[in-house]
């Protein structure tokens, strides 16, 4: 490669400008991941305020308005600030290395996608200090609570959502263009690693629904500031219209947060089972079907809004249909492990916990999908338990699994396996103490988003709060492990894991600043 293009083969720039001006997919991936971790701690802090208040019945620490702001900001920060950017960060790091690409397709726009986020979240967090407080209408911001009865700061919330949407759309366009256009010759679609496949579909979902979110907040903006009546029946509109448009975004959004997790787990389980993934093709088809179905199930979030019966039935059955491709996936993961030569390093532990606990969350999802039963569960802690089971031991555990799995490739050092396992077990036990009792609370009728509750819910709430602090503080261990790994540790080989397959493992550890400037040969 002595062909006069040496300017493309230098290392990173020095100092802060490396991060501010970078166009390198690895740098941008790192930025996304650190940003996501910061937001994870911020959102976690909000959650701990909630759990501290709910430790006992009665009002202890915060007034109800601040409590509502905490539930709202916790949801928004975790969804848009922690989980989504973490997956984009993983995609930035791994997709080019997995498909043999020199970088992301549009490197400068890649950096723009990232740098919008800190500004957007600074704007959104600043609403907490504004006159009248921050958004207090729940992360789903239903109208008219978020329009007629919203605090003034809602305007900035709307603009922050617009900015995050722009960031997500640009990021997804980049990922999709990279996958479509930058695969090394011979890397056909059906040879792509599953993480790449799931991200391809996720990026498609993002481009399809983030504009719808932008549309719905724009309608809110006009209802608030320009006197329109989209969500006011007095002018012929309908508050339920908000929910329809929001959940048309919101349900695919749920899969945006879980499909890349499926991809991660489908990379890790074969590695530590020392077997090829069982049913690769069916994994691809299952992911695509889940993505398709995600567009026609949205109103299962709205069974109690008074939909016509035909609607209730349609959305009930279409929702249950999702269990089929998801079942295919779980079956394939288990079958991959079956008769494999398993070892239980930290990424594998997180991946197995993912399969088990995500499935639990899936089953409660099926319970919620049954329209007549949902009338009982709607707006209770059962719903809270359900979506936290799919999001925390689901999405978040897969992100942690991915971090442990690829950390040696990123840093060149092995993490401390004992500490990693300790972190896993603390998280695993913490998460179950935290969320399992919430199922019982919900079935017994405790409503969600309340700062105070009836006495009979006291015991389980106390258990849940203990679990919350237990889990929350365990995450500082992750921070410690990551920093320790960056600083040093046992040197990692290129292969890192005995059973690992894929292009990223053919590169040295740490991966050089520029990789695959010419496409690698694909077998």
């Amino acid at each position: 490669m002595a062909t006069g293009h040496d300017d493309h083969h230098h290392g990173p720039a020095k100092g802060l400008t490396r991060w501010l001006y970078t166009t390198n997919h690895k740098d941008i991936g790192t930025l996304y991941l650190w940003f996501s971790f910061a937001m994870f701690l911020l959102g976690g802090t909000f959650a701990l305020v909630i759990r501290a208040e709910l430790f006992q019945p009665g009002l202890q620490f915060v007034d109800p308005n601040l409590f509502n702001q905490m539930t709202t900001m916790h949801g928004l920060v975790m969804v848009f600030g922690a989980v989504m950017p973490a997956f984009v960060g993983l995609a930035n790091w791994m997709v080019p290395m997995m498909i043999g690409a020199p970088d992301m397709a549009l490197p400068r726009m890649n950096n723009w996608s990232f740098w919008i986020l800190p500004f957007a979240f600074a704007m959104m967090s600043s609403t907490l200090f504004m006159d009248g407080g921050g958004p207090n209408f729940g992360w789903t911001f239903y109208a008219p609570l978020s329009t007629t009865f919203a605090p003034k700061s809602v305007t900035f919330f709307i603009f922050a959502v617009h900015m995050m949407g722009a960031s997500s759309i640009m990021g997804s366009i980049n990922i999709i263009a990279t996958i479509q256009n930058l695969r090394a010759p011979g890397m056909t679609y059906m040879k792509m690693p599953l993480f790449v496949w799931t991200w391809l579909i996720t990026a498609y979902l993002l481009i399809a629904v983030m504009p719808v979110l932008a549309g719905v907040v724009t309608m809110m903006l006009f209802d608030i500031h320009f006197g329109t009546s989209f969500f006011s029946a007095a002018g012929g509109g309908d508050p339920v219209l908000f929910q329809h448009v929001f959940w048309f975004f919101g349900h695919p959004e749920v899969y945006i947060m879980i499909l890349p997790a499926f991809g991660v787990v489908s990379e890790i389980i074969p590695t530590f089972s020392r077997k090829r993934l069982f049913g690769y093709d069916s994994m691809v088809y299952a992911t695509s079907s889940i993505a398709f179905l995600s567009f026609i199930v949205w109103a299962h979030h709205m069974f109690t809004t008074g939909m016509p019966l035909a609607g209730e039935l349609f959305f009930m059955y279409s929702t249950m249909l999702i269990a089929v491709p998801t079942g295919v996936k779980v079956f394939n993961w288990i079958t991959t492990m079956f008769k494999g030569s398993l070892s239980f390093e930290t990424p594998m532990l997180f991946a197995i916990a993912f399969v088990v606990l995500f499935t639990c969350g899936g089953f409660t999802g099926l319970m919620l999908a049954i329209a007549p039963a949902d009338f009982q569960y709607q707006d209770t802690y059962f719903v809270v338990a359900h979506f936290h089971y799919v999001l925390v031991p689901g999405a978040v555990f897969s992100i942690m699994a991915a971090a442990y799995y690829w950390l040696p490739k990123w840093t060149g050092n092995m993490y401390d396996e004992n500490l990693g396992k300790l972190h896993f077990w603390l998280s695993f036990i913490g998460i179950n103490i935290l969320f399992f009792p919430q199922h019982f609370l919900g079935l017994a009728g405790m409503p969600r988003r309340v700062p105070d509750y009836a006495l009979q819910f006291a015991n389980f709430n106390m258990v849940s709060s203990i679990g919350a602090f237990f889990f929350g503080f365990s995450q500082l261990l992750l921070l410690f492990i990551v920093i320790k790994t960056i600083k040093g540790g046992k040197k990692a080989t290129a292969q890192v894991w005995e059973g690992a397959e894929g292009l990223e493992w053919t590169l040295p550890s740490p991966a050089p600043y520029h990789t695959f400037s010419t496409p690698p040969p694909i077998k």
């Binding site: 001006y21 759309i169 481009i207 309608m219 329109t228 989209f230 002018g235």
Partner: protein, 311 residues
């Protein structure tokens, strides 16, 4: 490897151009945030009747920064193209990028069209006592669910418009501005195509004329739309405040008009680039992207004309 080219590796692979560090993204983010902060404060000031214009200036400053950054960003992109840095593969990335960007724009309009269909077919019907959820009629029993909604459920909160913008029959077709706008926009799609063909045939004069004509047609469309809005506000009493009909009408046509503005701006930039001698028959993606955008805006208008005006 007959002709050793510095852009080709021994394997015959043309390296993918990965630009060096760039200040554009962070500055663009900064400009965008300043604009949004200014805009947010402006709206809140208006709502709480604070008569300060400072926030509007902040918004404008942010917009100016963003505009300058984007101008330089695109200029750099064009310069790099002149230097021959982008490979054929990178150019395909631009094509894919534009393709998916237009898809995202389609989905943005889908949200508003979806809202329109929902209110027309469901909520307005139910409020008028028709259909499975007709119980909602109990609240405003005088409400008639006709579309366009001229009599709002609660006219005290949302004043009734005197007249809608719906099709007035063939008798008044000639004075019906949306019809003229349809003709204008449809023909502008044709003219931009003719310009494209001229570009491919190296006919610069034809290219300049037909592209210029496209921009003029776009501007005429916007002028007529401004007239239509003035008429709605001054003569028909149709405003953003006049209930769901006004809401859907102004948001759908307004966002479309905003996209026409953007598209016309893009095309006029292309026109100036043509005057500067840019574009080659085999390399003119900037032009092509702008024309795709223009066709997209055109298609959205056809949807609007059918569902907002005619039906």
């Amino acid at each position: 490897m007959a002709t050793p080219d510095k852009h080709t590796t021994p394997g015959g692979y043309e390296p993918y151009y990965v630009p060096d560090q760039s200040k554009f993204p962070i500055l663009a983010s900064l400009g965008l945030s300043i604009m949004m902060i200014g805009l947010g404060n402006t709206l809140n000031d208006i709502k709480s009747q604070h008569g300060s214009t400072a926030s509007a200036w902040v918004a404008f400053a942010g917009f100016f920064i963003l505009g300058c950054v984007l101008f330089n960003w695109f200029a750099t992109q064009i310069r790099e193209n002149f230097q021959g840095l982008p490979s054929a593969q990178l150019k395909r990335s631009y094509v894919l990028g534009m393709y998916w960007f237009i898809f995202s724009e389609v989905m943005f309009f889908c949200a508003f069209f979806g809202a329109l269909f929902y209110v027309r077919n469901f909520s307005v019907q139910w409020l008028a006592g028709v259909g499975e959820k007709g119980i909602s009629h109990a609240q405003w029993q005088d409400f008639q669910g006709t579309w366009p909604v001229i009599n709002n459920p609660d006219p005290k909160t949302f004043a009734n418009p005197e007249q809608s913008m719906a099709w007035r029959g063939f008798g008044e077709a000639l004075s019906y501005l949306p019809l003229w706008n349809t003709i204008l926009l449809l023909s502008s799609s044709v003219t931009v195509h003719i310009a494209h063909v001229a570009l491919k045939n190296k006919n610069r004069k034809q290219l300049t004329i037909w592209l210029g004509l496209t921009v003029l047609l776009g501007i005429t469309f916007l002028v007529l739309q401004a007239r239509e809005y003035t008429e709605a506000y001054k003569e028909l009493g149709l405003t953003l405040h006049s209930g769901i009909y006004g809401s859907t009408f102004f948001l759908l046509t307004g966002f479309h008009g905003f996209h026409v503005t953007l598209g016309a701006f893009m095309l006029s930039v292309m026109w100036f680039r043509v005057l500067k001698g840019h574009f080659k028959p085999e390399d003119h993606f900037g032009f092509e992207a702008a024309s795709w955008y223009w066709h997209f805006v055109d298609v959205v208008w056809v949807g609007l004309f059918c569902f907002v005006y005619l039906l």
